[in-house]
Symmetry: C2
Subunit: 420 residues, 2 copies
């Protein structure tokens, strides 16, 4: 017998047919002898509807009231799934955030979970065999009012609950069947990974592989929660029930690197199209100029990702290039213009026609030459690299967006990730 | 300054435009210096949508889960109204049933309020001048789970809250501007009553004048809460603000009879079309036969209203007529058929072509001859009376439904209720 947390997102509970499908997944686990807590999101579209209502009521509104309104979506789903499970003969009850409780800080609209006193819910799971259907995305703040965890918070709810009750695994059911070596839409030979380390998953998630919320992966890593990403769209009865001892599981296990038997040098290729490039041409090359550029951006809460600086041939000027989120580009350009008197004369250019491609793998730590092979392979295809940034387990490059597919496919083959 | 509870039903908060209209009503009271708690229902149609979802999930479902799902409707409205008030510069916050708390018994789906510890909400109303926007229809049971009070429970929420915080008055905003001497749709000369006693209102409500939930009137009577029935559809700024000392108020005040200066003998005429008639012809007239008829009906939880019994000319048989709710007719007929072996031989007939017309007035207690005048006036119009029942402040008759309008108009004129 295993103690499991299963999490189902909005598209998995979009209507009563989909909710019945979720109940079948839960039933399979229960019949295999597992104790299950199920974390659910709001029915697809419901959160957007509620958010729109609060915005229409007042564009600038009290986040505490926003939380009271928006949290009702998960409340409805948890009750409906409990009813559905009961109708199938499975003991179940719904738990709202304030009932568990998921204690959070007071940051309404973007709260952080501080504590989950899980004794009661754990006892009912294990002693009564009652399925706990938990409303995701919500908690209760120090002011005794409902808080929400911010968009995508249900993944975090699930991982936090798994840590609190000491679950053997947290299964995140989603609309894909796992984490792939890269986006299968542009690389048909992409393979599903059997396992991926927390660190790699964090890089994959923040690099544009939108399978799991970054925050939930961080929490899983810190608390050592094993997370299985799997599909809710496969017929429930074709999947093996999960036991404590797993054989080949459906989906991708996100876990500590010690649990990954055969480590690849490179596990995956990610790309992010929502990066924009800002270039300052001909800035006077003198001490402190970088601070005068990036100080105002930091003050404006604009996150800068890659930074490249080259001195011009005359040795007196420098060209600076950096990237920001596309949604921040316009604001970033204004901030730089506003700092022109401090920075001195320069020519300012912004562009969204760029893409960031990243090669990710914990094996890079012990393997040299990964970057060199990458640059050569891209050069062979005539792809110009506009910027480079690296971490211990990642190399990212910025290239012209027109070369996205070519670059990703080239690197996918280069590191032996193509399926047979 | 007065302490007020204002209650708005589903049609009054049907969309954001209507919610803004509600906020204008609240603003008027706040600007007049009154402290306000506002009780809201779910947006019109929302409760039906949620109930349908629970039924579709499983026809027979756990009432605790039903409550978790359905109570989300009021949760959304209370948050949206708080946001709207804040955007108008009025301090406000939402209160869910479990936050106030409205403590109830454990009868999920039809809970009764047992206690409202109102110290905190009262203090915030009076000391901070903060409007409390309270989700109606909901509470928290002994099991720490959400309960609902049953359909129309928001009226009861409002009256109970008014009693708990010691409000000067509970204003029930609805889609009519008060309680009328009879249904204006069939008697154009019907008049709005300035005031009506709790006892009369109870008779009016249970007789088919669906302005206030019977249960809320009973609670108001027991706790001495003054209730003002008024319209939410009149433009908010055309109504006078309510102070502790009222002049001529809009709407109808439901209060103790000592507060009604000029008492009428008859205050109103009510009619109920949802009564059905059951007749047993030729039952053997022997002791205990009535018990054999009404015992099984009581066991089946069928409420019997009027009962008439006549002995037939031969002196050996009796004809029995009684009325039940139309929705219970089919079941009542089956119950009687099932008891045929106990009752003996008879001929069974059921009919829904009847209406119950009632004349109501606390003045009847001290005035004789009200019934005699009624029977004569109806006889003059050729209307046959099929059954009669009376209480201290009410006379009800059962007649052929075809004569409804004629009978109501005749009685309305007879007792001097017609508007000039």
């Amino acid at each position: 017998m295993a103690l499991l947390v299963l999490k189902f997102g909005g598209t998995s509970v979009a209507d009563l047919d989909r909710i019945r499908n979720v109940a079948q997944h839960v039933k399979r686990e229960v019949e295999a002898g597992n104790a299950c807590a199920v974390v659910v999101s709001a029915m697809a579209g419901e959160t957007n509807r509620l958010v729109a209502l609060t915005r229409e009521a007042a564009p600038l509104h009290d986040a505490r009231e926003y939380d009271a309104v928006v949290s009702s979506g998960e409340q409805v789903t948890s009750g409906l799934l409990a009813i559905t499970l009961q109708s199938m003969g499975i003991p179940a009850r719904s738990w709202l955030g304030w009932q568990v409780p998921f204690r959070t800080d007071g940051a309404h609209g973007a709260a952080r979970i501080t504590e989950i006193p899980a004794a009661e819910i754990r006892a009912r799971l294990l002693d009564r065999g009652e399925v706990a259907v938990v409303a995701g995305f919500q908690g209760i703040g120090p002011d005794n009012r409902i808080t929400t965890l911010g968009r995508g918070g249900s993944d975090t709810s699930a991982v936090a609950l798994a840590a609190a009750i000491g679950a053997d695994r947290c299964d995140i059911y989603t609309d894909v069947d796992g984490v792939y070596t890269t986006d299968p839409r542009i690389v048909p030979k992409a393979r599903r990974l059997e396992a991926i380390s927390y660190e790699e998953m964090l890089e994959m998630a923040s690099q544009g592989a939108k399978v799991l919320q970054t925050r939930s992966v961080e929490l899983a890593m810190v608390r050592g929660v094993r997370v299985l990403v799997r599909s809710s769209f496969e017929a429930p009865d074709t999947l093996p029930a999960a036991g404590r001892e797993e054989g080949r599981v459906p989906g991708t296990l996100v876990c500590g690197e010690d649990e990954i038997v055969e480590q690849q040098v490179v596990s995956g290729i990610a790309y992010a199209k929502d990066e924009a490039k800002v270039t300052l041409l001909g800035v006077a090359d003198k001490p402190g100029v970088a601070a005068r550029v990036f100080g105002p951006l930091a003050e404006a809460n604009i996150n800068v990702d890659m930074i490249v600086q080259n001195v011009t041939p005359d040795g007196k000027h420098t060209d600076m290039t950096f990237t920001v989120q596309t949604s921040d580009l316009e604001r970033a350009m204004k901030v730089i213009e506003g700092a022109r008197s401090d920075i001195g004369d320069f020519d300012l250019r912004g562009s969204t026609d760029v893409v960031k491609v990243s090669v990710i793998g914990i094996g890079m730590r012990s393997h040299a030459g990964v970057a060199a092979r990458m640059f050569q392979a891209l050069a062979d295809k005539g792809i110009n690299i506009e910027a480079i940034s690296t971490s211990e387990i990642k190399i990212s490059i910025l290239i012209d967006a027109a070369y996205t597919e070519l670059a990703v496919r080239t690197l996918h083959s280069l590191y032996g990730l193509d399926a047979d």
